[in-house]
Point group: C2
Chain length 260, copies 2
Amino acid sequence: MANKKPLILVTNDDGITAPGIRALISVMKDIGNVVVVAPDSPQSAMGHAITINDTLYCDPVKMTEDADHKEYSCSGTPADCVKLATQEILHRKPDLCVSGVNHGSNSSINVIYSGTMSAAVEAGVEGIPAIGFSLLDYSLEADFEPCKKYIKAITEHVLDKGLPKGVVLNVNLPKLKEKEIKGIKVCRQAKAHWVEDFDKRKSPQGRDYYWLTGEFINEDKGEDTDEWALSNGYVSVVPVQFDLTAHHFIQDLNSWELND
Amino acid sequence: MANKKPLILVTNDDGITAPGIRALISVMKDIGNVVVVAPDSPQSAMGHAITINDTLYCDPVKMTEDADHKEYSCSGTPADCVKLATQEILHRKPDLCVSGVNHGSNSSINVIYSGTMSAAVEAGVEGIPAIGFSLLDYSLEADFEPCKKYIKAITEHVLDKGLPKGVVLNVNLPKLKEKEIKGIKVCRQAKAHWVEDFDKRKSPQGRDYYWLTGEFINEDKGEDTDEWALSNGYVSVVPVQFDLTAHHFIQDLNSWELND
């Protein structure tokens, strides 16, 4: 890496105008050559959606007068952005893809709903080292400054050491002041789920409709989990894989003799 | 199960009017009491999207004059359907959730883009045994008859034996005549990816836009994979987990000494 700056693709799911992606771009510009391809509107909770029944737009945009890197605004999902970037925008495979910084947590089970992580996973599927970053603060006024040194450290380690095939990183950052953050902790995904509580209302026309709300339930008391790390002042790093096979259950399943 | 019929929630991602869900309902009605909560429009490739920034409708519908089970048409994603069903529609936790039969494959890496499987995973997160079924035929005229006995056999085994916590099944059925299908094979997810080939066009207004197309690349020669099973005439059953932690990489990641 000494004499060649790495090519870094930056994306997110909150949209290209979100403060979180601005913070991420500012860190990445210290490390490499940055190209941004991000959704033109918020795509939160889009999971790993891709656009197959609609057209996609992807237009160059200039977010600030003095920007010396290229940015593209895309009408699709975070996964679409990565696909378009690697196939149509970039002239070579990027050395790294980073997604975020998400406004809100993508720890534990939230990883499966996360547009931020879907972009990182999409890059991983394409063989590009990838990291999703999320801050546990939904506010548009969230303070990303305390995160920056951790984002930089993790990114530089990934560029230096690489990631194994089939693995990307899910990084969550606690909503704390810089001096309150205790450091970085490698974790496993906590076992957790949401208990939904739909807010049922009636439209002016008298039709029932719902808003999805819910409560997050962490069933996992393990001190090696992301939830534990975050509530104890650490930045959590979970290695995430997209081979979803539950290998531990294959032998049992074979014993069912499904063909008899 | 002898004296009490199981309660079975049926959903899909092709929408409540798709032939595939009709085939699945007909099999499930032989096995248990069926309630259908499915999207009002196609939701293919929606991944694990959920609807948090929009309202959700969920209305009772009667799809056939003589139907003796309840059906609900929902404006949301497959994962929304499962959440609404368990929280608002059903009076008790269902004994099983089945999703499909999808018109098209959800084998190997397609599992991460799949709305069909996102419904099954959502049910699994909520502690409900769940199976996603997909037929390797995109056509609206697909013949689901040869699948039915396999769908029935797998479903009955799951109701009989249960599934471990954190595991759901991803079942794919080859597009073959009944006598050509060799049986059921328990598999792992093949390592594969899509190479995108965007079809770039110009709108009547002169703006560039894209259609996502691509070629499926199977990098995995293993005879224990779903891709191998399907191309050799078998129904594939992959146990799928939603703890995405790449446990095999945690030790290495710890050796990086991220805090130094």
